[in-house]
Symmetry: none
Subunit: 401 residues, 2 copies
């Protein structure tokens, strides 16, 4: 039996509440001068107290050495093995702008591109047009309807957009039109399965219409499509864990991912303070909260050690408001490491603290990578976080007699 | 290759002897006043010495967050992945009273229940009749013979009994008769596979005969059957490990489990002292001993921290007798945690010590959860205990050239 199946079999409802706080890209590398990581440098009296009274550990998001993207990282935190639970590119782009794909929709990632008078691609990104321009051109294409199938076109950023086909009997098993090289024509979209032939015909007509409508908009005078995909069929957190789960996140990508696994999306405002207020206001209506903090990752990506430290300290200062609610289980961790020294996501395991009245405390007296490395939970896979959260909130029955 | 297959391929006979001491429900949670668990509170000079000269670690019985039942816990300790090696309910109940199911037998869990004059169930447990009454009524049903199939009926406890059908060509693939609700008639037992049709017919006749024989025994005037199962086909410890294995246990359930994996069952007497004497008396005849201590779990389930401490101290005091025999490998651990604070089995990982002349010692100078958390064996799965025991007794050859 697969591990998630077992959890599904054992899960039960209890009154206990779980808060999973994800500081994006939390894990770091030590400043060469001080020997301390961003988390270890930050003054975090509240997190330290939670760690001292709880249990700590280090998590691998995918496996040793594997650097996860943000979607992979979050799926793993929610208990979905990201190697098994895959999101097609078109669906992922839709998730990224929090576009709610409906069952039956077929989505693709699009590029506005430049073609010459012979129709050959001369720039796959149309000179990276502005996001403003992208919005305008998406409007030009949005609503094209072919054989009762409506194309919904939404801007993403610069030359990137999504197109979502909505209609009857659509099938995503089609090849890309993006040739991934210059000097050739866009590829005709081919059905990779006989069942997708009709959909491929619709896509062809959409592309023809797009070419016509964009002809006067040089350099963005054509589109390239790739990664046709439908909304992935994941079992929901409600089905697996019997949780009523809510997500609080300022960035659309994280809301989109949370929606894919069946969480309700709360109005999260515009700041960390707003996020905590959203949690407080909805505290009685859910038994699981995912609260996402973006600033740690952005600072890490920018190589800004100090700013990352500052974001962690900001979160620590906001904690007492949450603690007043007395959640039964609090987990603080990240979806991957983003060491400021690397200016990028990394493979380094991520520190985690779990606080509950049923913890077996370890020696950790602060929340940091070194303390977590010898923590009582050991070094474990992120997909085990949810089983641990469930256990500590008495939401798992005994396995076997 | 599955891990057990590999061990089977590598296992060899050596003169070394292994003792696996299982303190049932050993793992605990700290007393809030002292910060020490039951095991850490107990005065255990002998266990501490074994730990200091050996290696320690923490084990997950099934996986993080999963609370195991006792049968699951022991299978895992013996090296059988409990998610893969499943025991059907009827077989497990038989194991629980140390009833030796033969290949071909079909066993079911039974309830004495109450039905009204229309045959509708009014009490699924017949008012929880006494175990004495259960013995008497089991005698009334025992030996019913239908079409050359004999029904062996044995009391378990209160309203619970087992019925074991013994005969030719029986098939356990049948549904329950227990409707799991009141106000309805018992369900007719249905074959879930065409091959089980004849057996279902026999069960029907058995139930009809039971109804007749019980008609004067209100409130226990009917039976409900569920969990039809045969003896599970596990490879024996002899086949896998080439061990001559013996079990010493005061409770029938643990003897039954040990028998299922091919151990010989020794006469274990009535006390811990008797158990150690049984080990001593049979020391020359076996190369593997499983010695089970029940008191730790019972005390934990009762929420009696002090009594659990006492049982651990009692075992520690009995140890020198065992040490005189100089077993080559001694392992002390539990089949799950039963923290007195929780009054129940729990998911917390279980402390383990392994003592042998081939240990790489760690810093642990005592046997306790905290010391084990940073032990040299790390945090590992219980199914790896047997490979470690085999290796430390030089019973595993090299893998590959």
């Amino acid at each position: 039996m697969e591990s998630m199946e077992l959890i599904k079999k054992l899960s039960q409802i209890s009154p206990d509440k779980i808060v999973l706080m994800v500081m994006d890209g939390l894990g770091g590398l030590p400043d060469p001068d001080t020997g301390k990581t961003e988390l270890e440098t930050a003054r975090t009296p509240n997190l330290d107290k939670l760690a001292a009274r709880g249990t700590t550990g280090l998590i691998d998001i995918v496996g040793p050495g594997i650097t996860p993207g943000s979607s992979v990282g979050h799926l793993s935190l929610f208990g979905y093995d990201p190697v098994r639970y895959n999101i097609g590119r078109g669906a992922l782009e839709s998730v990224g702008i929090d576009f709610d794909l409906e069952p039956g929709d077929v989505a693709a990632r699009g590029n506005f591109c430049t073609v010459d008078e012979k129709g050959l691609v001369t720039d796959r990104r149309a000179g990276r047009i502005s996001t403003e321009k992208c919005k305008e051109l998406s409007g030009v294409l949005d609503g094209i309807t072919i054989d009762n199938v409506k194309a919904i076109v939404r801007p993403v950023k610069e030359h990137r957009f999504i197109v979502v086909l909505r209609g009857e009997k659509l099938d995503p098993r089609m090849g890309d039109s993006d040739p991934q090289q210059l000097g050739v024509a866009p590829k005709p979209v081919e059905a990779l399965d006989p069942a997708a032939k009709a959909t491929a015909g619709i896509v062809k007509k959409f592309i023809d219409e797009a070419r016509k409508r964009l002809s006067g908009h040089h350099p963005a005078n054509m589109v390239l499509l790739r990664g046709f995909a439908e909304r992935p069929h994941f079992p929901s957190m409600g089905e697996i864990y019997k949780l009523k789960a809510a997500a609080i996140a300022l960035y659309p990508m994280y809301r989109g991912l949370a929606r894919l696994v069946g969480m309700d999306i709360l109005d999260s405002g515009k700041s960390l303070e707003d996020e905590f207020r959203a949690l407080e206001n909805n505290y009685s209506s859910y038994d699981f909260f995912f609260l996402h903090v973006k600033g740690t990752d952005s600072a890490g990506e920018d190589g800004d050690f100090k700013r990352k430290v500052g974001v962690i300290e900001e979160l620590d200062m906001a904690l007492p408001g949450l603690l007043k609610l007395k959640p039964d289980v609090i987990i603080v961790t990240g979806d991957h490491s983003t060491p400021a020294l690397l200016k990028a996501h990394s493979w380094h395991p991520v520190p985690l603290l779990l606080n509950s009245r049923w913890c077996r405390p370890d020696g950790a007296d602060n929340f940091g990578e070194s303390a977590c490395a010898s923590g009582g939970l050991g070094h474990f896979h992120a997909t085990k976080i949810m089983p641990l959260a469930m256990a500590h909130s008495l939401k798992l029955t005994k396995f076997g007699a």
